[in-house]
Symmetry: C2
Subunit: 502 residues, 2 copies
């Protein structure tokens, strides 16, 4: 996959994109540092640094030279390789998007985001939705205004979704999410009514030092390259950086050992994807993720299909018992595996299991859709959240902190992001059924602690392509079928029914 450099404008364009990438990744490192290292009162200087770098980056990404190079290259289509045409097509899309947004609009939106985020932190702390209303209203107005400026989609919610998952849209998501809703709600009810009722709170008093050791050993064994990455601590686990310098975070609690473990495996999934993108093309679309749904498919795949599997625990259980001998002495292998796969109703998305998680996302998607089509007013949002929560999850949050205020996404105007999580689960499940056909020894390999055939498969089928295929084309190419919700339903039923009904 080398690029045949036929046109000097192509070299100039790639060079420019790589310089922009150096600035963008610097900005990203400053954001990482803000979550991991920033002294408590240093938020002021960091805000100024991020604003200055954002301005410089916006200037670079909207340089009229880009348009000139693209014009020249587009009139020379026949001399371009497939990879080159991908770079040009994707850069054109980003460039046309970015030049429509004035620096003033970008700055105004960024400033409002900062205030809105802080207002959300405060509102959530006090479970006070009312104080958050003006900020949320402004964020929604900004999203609508932006969609109206860019004018790439007739439905503004489609525009939002496209920012995270190009080529996916409301109609597609609606179709598959209603399938999921129809099947997963009764499945959840059935499991909850099972006489088998695991409880992850039996895992208590796990020393943090040993948790760190285990998390490091696991993530390294899965294939994360610590020569080009780190794992640190932050309040909320996340993954940032790139193939050359990847930064993941997790958090530790003595009485929630599965939280640090699975959040680390989750972030490792993101990290392995980034580390598998072709390094030589870094800065160009050939080394960018397809979209957030595919990104989430990677993190969810390692976390759930692998990390919560029998084969995984077959291999890791002895080491786990070595590190946490006392804590596990009354818990046998079956109970441990069942505990790792606890399913139950939880008002909080990030604390929920791999089945219920999807229902949390469906709830948010339905609300976002109604906010954008005007059928739901922001003032009615908490009531609607609670009603839908009862309908979908079978519980009503005891307050707005546990309900509508639990997630930060809306506070920073990130409407349209939530569906990616559930789409990621759909993709992960669909990949899983293809992978086990391609790799008949997969589960044996995992049982023996050999994760490299699996990683190699993902590298070959997903990671190496960057943005060469869009989400739906990529899934079609790998699995020989269109992206569909039925695989997620099958995966969850196949796994959980036998576990809860022996």
């Amino acid at each position: 996959m080398t690029i045949n450099s036929t046109h000097p404008s192509y070299d100039s364009l790639v060079n420019h994109l790589k310089e922009a990438f150096s600035l963008k990744s610097s900005l990203s490192l400053l954001q990482w540092d803000a979550q991991v290292n920033l002294p408590p009162s240093s938020g002021d200087i960091r805000a100024l640094q991020l604003a200055a770098l954002s301005e410089v980056l916006h200037h670079k990404l909207t340089d009229p030279k880009i348009g000139k190079w693209l014009d020249q290259l587009e009139s020379n289509q026949e001399s371009l390789s497939f990879e080159q045409s991908v770079v040009i097509k994707e850069t054109r899309k980003t460039y046309e998007h970015d030049i429509k947004l004035s620096p003033e609009f970008v700055a105004k939106k960024a400033a409002a985001q900062s205030y809105s985020y802080l207002a959300w932190v405060e509102a959530r702390k006090n479970s006070d939705f009312k104080s958050f209303i003006p900020h949320l209203t402004k964020q929604l107005d900004f999203a609508l205004e932006e969609a109206n400026i860019v004018k790439s989609h007739t439905n503004p919610y489609d525009y939002c979704i496209d920012q995270y998952d190009p080529h996916l849209n409301v109609a597609f998501i609606e179709k598959h999410f209603s399938e999921l809703k129809k099947e997963l709600i009764p499945l959840l009810v059935k499991i909850i009514n099972s006489p088998i009722k695991p409880d992850h709170t039996i895992l208590k008093g796990f020393p943090i030092k040993n948790q760190e050791t285990f998390v490091y050993e696991v993530t390294k064994k899965l294939g994360f390259d610590y020569d080009r990455g780190r794992l640190d601590r932050s309040v909320h686990p996340f993954c940032s950086g790139n193939a050359l310098d990847l930064r993941m975070t997790t958090r530790y609690n003595e009485n929630l050992p599965l939280d640090s473990l699975f959040s680390s495996i989750h972030e490792t999934g993101h990290g392995l994807y980034e580390q598998g993108l072709p390094k030589e093309h870094l800065g160009t679309p050939l080394s960018e993720a397809v979209g957030m749904a595919v990104h989430e498919s990677q993190s969810r795949f390692w976390e759930n299909q692998i990390g919560r599997s029998r084969a995984f625990w077959h291999y890791w259980e002895p080491r786990y018992r070595e590190l946490f001998n006392d804590q596990l002495k009354n818990i046998d292998s079956d109970l441990l595996y069942l505990t790792v796969n606890t399913v139950g109703r939880n008002p909080i998305r990030v604390d929920s299991d791999e089945l219920t998680y999807n229902l949390h996302i469906i709830l948010r998607f339905e609300l976002e859709k109604q906010l954008f089509d005007g059928s739901l007013k922001i003032t009615d949002l908490p009531d609607k959240w609670n009603a839908l929560s009862e309908e979908i999850l079978g519980l009503t949050p005891k307050n707005d902190k546990e309900g509508v205020l639990q997630d930060m996404h809306w506070s920073t105007g990130d409407f349209g992001y939530f569906p990616s999580y559930c789409l990621g689960n759909m993709i992960a499940a669909q990949l899983w059924f293809t992978m086990i056909k391609h790799l008949p020894s997969l589960e044996d390999n995992i049982s023996q602690g050999n994760f490299s055939p699996l990683l190699q498969w993902l590298r070959t089928n997903v990671h190496q392509y960057g943005k060469q295929y869009n989400t739906r084309d990529l899934v079609q190419k790998i699995t020989a079928e269109p992206l569909h919700s039925k695989y997620l339903i099958k995966y969850l039923s196949d796994k959980y029914l036998p576990l809860y009904f022996k």
Copy 2:
């Protein structure tokens, strides 16, 4: 000290400088991260990020608008306050300097520096000076070329010194360093011949966790603001950042507990200076250090005049024994104090005591001077180093790793920096004699763990002024006498003769 904003050009200039500062401090954070967090193989992307940010910053600092604003303001001198005239004078100096250096020259020099630094690491590892000769030659040529481009000084070594310590020069340094040499060599010989022979290697097996605790407690008590700063680990201790986000580092070794302690106090001295610069003027010369000699005077002051004093140990010894009870049980108070003040011959500058340290600097100054006036060839440097070492320090390094290759400064072309360390010691000593006159209860305060009058004195007399006064004017203003080497000689004699000849 508020700025009376009389001219719109002044506001525009300050605004521009503050934006440049946001970029400069971002660059500095990336450099800090490279020393503290960077994964082992991620040097490539960091080099690209630093290059991209440097280019953007150079562009900002050489923006012709700066020249235009300065022209307007300089023709309106009568309407400017003293502080405003400082900003204009200093900005003019930096601007005229920066615009003379083409982006190509800056980039070429930076690239050569990177290679030269790596060559030095390798050469030092193998004690192989010969492999380093072409790089060192290039660095010297760059320094001479730069001095020739800028043409601000007739002597290129004066130009180099001026980069770190404006208004200081070879003639001044030579006069005072020969005084120091004349007095300190016999003082060292005398002490070495004393029957009292302390040995810091008696301090062994100090658990690192407790060292960390002690270092944190000490630096916090001295006044370091951890709400706006951090202390991390790195191979070589350093201090970077600014008044709003200050990053210090140290290193730990169970058998060298004084290394982590005194390097932390040293960096705290730098940190307190930065944290004491007026925050509201950050980005302008009103919030910049006078120069490196004054910066080093602050670090050396806290490390030596305070950290190695009887009063300091009177206060901290009980806590030190609490944390290191077993390790100190055969060491009484007098022996501990003597050990902290071990004087001896050591080939390595950074491992040497507060007396000998000055002789290490004098050696380097003499060699730099001869390299710049052409009387010393680079090929003859190791022999000359060894001969001077025998003459000044009374020892010949056993190889070039312990001799001419020990310091990184020359590898990155930082000629003219070394004198700042010894000038810093001179300033620290001179400030000390003034301070004890101004604050008669100073030693009592320190004995009681009350460091705030001392910090307040430095804030008022040194920190608050930024670049309002140059090094010599500032010392004259505070001590009512010109900067002079005699105070350092007096301080060292007063302290060490009674200690080694009871």
